[in-house]
Amino acid sequence: MNAPIIQARGLKRHYQRGSETVKALDGVDLDIYPGEMVSILGPSGSGKTTLVNLLSCLDVPTAGTLVLAEKPVTNLSEDRLADIRRGTLGFIFQKFHLIPTLTVAENVELPLMFLKRPVDRAATQGVLKQVGLEGRAAHLPRELSGGEMQRVAVARALIVQPKILIADEPTGNLDKANGDAIFKLFRKLSVEQGLTLIITTHNLALGHEADRVITLEDGRILREEPGRGKPALSRASSR
C-alpha cells in the first residue's frame, strides 16, 4: 500500500465566539491515499468546510498535526503555506470565483502567473478539452452557464497539474444535471489521471459516487464507508 498523501492526526480547529468556544473540528485522524476520491458528507456545521480548509493549508489548526505530500504543514507562515499550496493543491469552490473581466482561457491561466510558469496555449486548450469547454476559450464568464463556470474552475485547478484536488461544495450552485456532470468529470480525473480528490457535499447520492465516504458530525468523523467508486484504499477513524 502507498504512503498516504494526506495524514492528519488529532486535527482540531476551535474558534472563540465571545465567551463561547466553538469546536468546529474536534480531533480528526485521517489518511488519504494518492489517487483516492474521497467524499466528505455531513449536515451544515458538521465541520466539512473547516476540514477541507485545513487540508488545503488555507487555515491553520488549533491543535494536531498535518502532513501533506510528506511535508509537515503545521505552524508555517502564510507564505510558506502558499508554497505548499502552489502546484500541490488545486481548489474548486461553490461560487466558482472566476475573474469577470478575464476570458475563460485567461481565468484558467491565472494561477500560472502566480507560479511564474510560462503560459502554454496548448496546455490551456488541453485542460479546457478535458472539461469539455474547448470551444469557449475566448468567452467571458458572464457568457457561460453555472455548470460551465464550474468546469472553468476545474480547468483552472487542473492547469497547475496538482497532486490533490479539493472541491468544497462544487455542486452547491448547480442543478442536478450539471452536478452529475461535474461528479462524472471528477470520477474521470480520478480514474484516468490518478488524481487525489477530496470533495465536500450535501448531496448524499453524489457523495457516494466516491471511492470512500466520510461522514462528519459535530466536528468529528461519525463513520467512514466505501463508496461506489474504486475499492477503498485506506482506513479512517474518529477519536
Binding site: 502564510e78 470565483h97 475573474i99 473581466t101 502566480f114
Partner: protein
C-alpha cells in the same frame, strides 16, 4: 497574462469610477503642469526679452525700480531724463564693452493713424538713437524686404525727417518704405504741439521685443523736436565681464553721479519675477490642494476596489499568489490610475497652454514679450515621474491591506 494586463482589466470593471478618478488626477496634473509651464515660460520670456535688449545694464534717471523695469521691457511712458554729459562721462569706464545713448519720447499721431477710434493707439513711441552704437548692441536687427519694403535703410544721422519703423508699428499704421508719417509733438516747455512730417526710409524685421513697436530717428533730431537738446532717457551698456562683483564695482563708480541709477538686468528680472511671485504662490497652493484631493480620491477608489474583490483576492492566494503578488497587483492598479491621469493631465495642459497664456495675459500685464507658458518634454517627464511617486505612496495602504488578508477570511468575506 501579466500583472499589468490584469491590473488594467481590473480597473475596467468599474469604468466610470476609474475614469472619474483618473480625471481627478488629470485635473491636478494639468494645474501643476500649467503652473510649472508658466514658471518656466515666464522666466524664459523675461530672459529672452532682456537678452534682446542687447544691453545688460542701463543707466537712467533716478526713479522707481518698477518703472525702470517697465521702461526697459516695454519702453514705458513715465519718462525721466538725465543730462547727456553723463553719457560722455560713463563711456570712458574701462569695464564697458559697448555703450549706446537712447532718447525716448511720446508723440501723438495726427491724421496719420488709420485706427483713430482707439485713443490708446493714437500715441507712438519715438526713439532717438545713434545707429552705429545701437547696431553694435543689437546685431540681429535687419530690414524687412519684399514688395514695398525693399531698399530699407537707416536714416541719415543729420536728417530731420527720416524715420525707421519697427515691424509692428509699421503693420499697424500700414506704412511701407517711402510713405509719410505725421506726428504732433509738444516740445519741452511749450504748450502747443508742433506737427511733424516724417518719411519712412526703412521697416525693421520682427524682433519680438519692444523695438517692434518703436519708431526710430536720429538721436539729435529726437532731442531737438522734443525740446531736450542735451537729454537722454537711457544709456544702454554691455560690460566686458558681467557678474555680481563686476556690476557692484560698476555701480559703485557711477552711483556717485547725482540723479542717476544703475539698473542691471538681474535686478529687472528680480523685479518682474516678484511682480507675479505672490500670484504664483497662490496658484501653487491651489495645485497642491488639487493634488492632495486627487491622491485621496485614488486611495479611496483602490480601497473600494479591494473591498469589493475581497473574495477574489482570497481565491488568488488559494491559487498560489504570495502576499507580494497581491501587493504588486493592487499597487500596479494605483500606478496605472496615476500614470493615466498624468498623461491625460499633461496632454490637457499642453493643448490648453495657449488658452492659459491668453487668460494670464488678459488678467495681468507681465511686461514681457513672447510666450509665457512653456510646457516641454522635461516638464511632462517631471509630471509623469511625480505621478509615479504619488501612485507609489497612494497605493501603499490599499496594497498592504489587500496583501495582509488571510486567504480563508477573504474567501469567507467574499461569499
Amino acid at each position: 497574462m501579466r500583472y499589468l494586463s490584469l491590473a488594467c482589466k481590473n480597473l475596467l470593471r468599474r469604468p466610470i469610477r476609474s475614469l472619474l478618478t483618473i480625471s481627478g488626477v488629470a485635473l491636478a496634473v494639468a494645474v501643476a503642469v500649467s503652473l510649472g509651464g508658466f514658471n518656466v515660460g515666464y522666466r524664459n520670456a523675461i530672459n529672452g526679452s532682456i537678452e534682446k535688449l542687447g544691453y545688460q545694464v542701463m543707466v537712467m534717471a533716478k526713479g522707481c525700480p518698477y518703472e525702470a523695469a517697465t521702461m526697459m521691457m516695454k519702453g514705458g511712458t513715465g519718462l525721466l531724463y538725465l543730462p547727456q554729459e553723463v553719457y560722455e562721462t560713463v563711456k570712458s569706464d574701462p569695464d564697458i564693452q559697448s555703450i549706446t545713448p537712447i532718447f525716448v519720447g511720446i508723440a501723438q499721431k495726427e491724421g496719420s493713424g488709420i485706427r483713430e477710434d482707439e485713443a490708446v493707439k493714437s500715441f507712438s513711441i519715438l526713439s532717438g538713437i545713434e545707429v552705429p552704437s545701437f547696431k553694435v548692441m543689437k546685431p540681429w536687427i535687419s530690414f524687412k524686404s519684399g514688395a514695398g519694403y525693399d531698399g530699407g535703410r537707416w536714416f541719415d544721422p543729420k536728417s530731420t525727417d527720416e524715420i525707421v519703423m519697427g515691424f509692428e508699428v509699421a503693420q499697424f499704421e500700414q506704412r511701407k518704405v517711402g510713405d509719410t508719417f505725421y506726428a504732433s509733438i509738444v516740445p519741452n516747455g511749450k504748450t502747443q504741439p508742433v506737427l511733424h512730417t516724417f518719411k519712412v526710409v526703412g521697416v525693421l524685421q520682427r524682433t519680438g521685443t519692444q523695438d517692434d513697436g518703436t519708431i526710430f530717428m536720429p538721436l539729435s533730431t529726437a532731442q531737438e523736436i522734443f525740446g531736450r537738446p542735451k537729454a537722454l532717457t537711457i544709456i544702454g551698456i554691455k560690460l566686458k565681464t558681467f557678474g555680481a562683483a563686476s556690476l557692484r564695482e560698476f555701480e559703485g563708480r557711477w552711483l556717485k553721479l547725482p540723479e542717476v541709477q544703475v539698473v542691471s538686468l538681474e535686478q529687472v528680472k528680480g523685479t518682474l519675477v516678484s511682480l507675479v511671485g505672490s500670484a504664483q504662490v497662490m496658484i501653487g497652493a491651489v495645485a497642491m490642494i488639487a493634488v492632495v484631493v486627487a491622491v485621496i480620491g485614488v486611495v479611496n477608489t483602490i480601497l473600494m476596489s479591494v473591498y469589493e474583490r475581497t473574495g477574489e483576492i482570497g481565491i488568488m492566494k488559494a491559487l498560489g499568489a504570495y502576499r507580494s503578488d497581491i501587493f504588486r497587483l493592487i499597487w500596479l492598479e494605483t500606478l496605472v490610475i496615476c500614470l493615466a491621469g498624468a498623461v491625460a493631465g499633461s496632454l490637457l495642459a499642453f493643448l490648453a497652454a495657449s488658452l492659459v497664456e491668453a487668460a494670464i495675459k488678459a488678467l495681468i500685464n507681465l511686461g514681457v514679450q513672447g510666450s509665457i507658458v512653456a510646457i516641454g518634454p522635461a516638464m511632462i517627464g517631471w509630471a509623469l515621474l511625480g505621478s509615479v511617486a504619488l501612485g507609489f505612496f497612494a497605493g501603499l495602504y490599499p496594497a498592504w491591506r489587500a496583501a495582509s488578508m488571510r486567504p480563508i477570511d477573504a474567501i469567507r468575506e467574499g461569499e
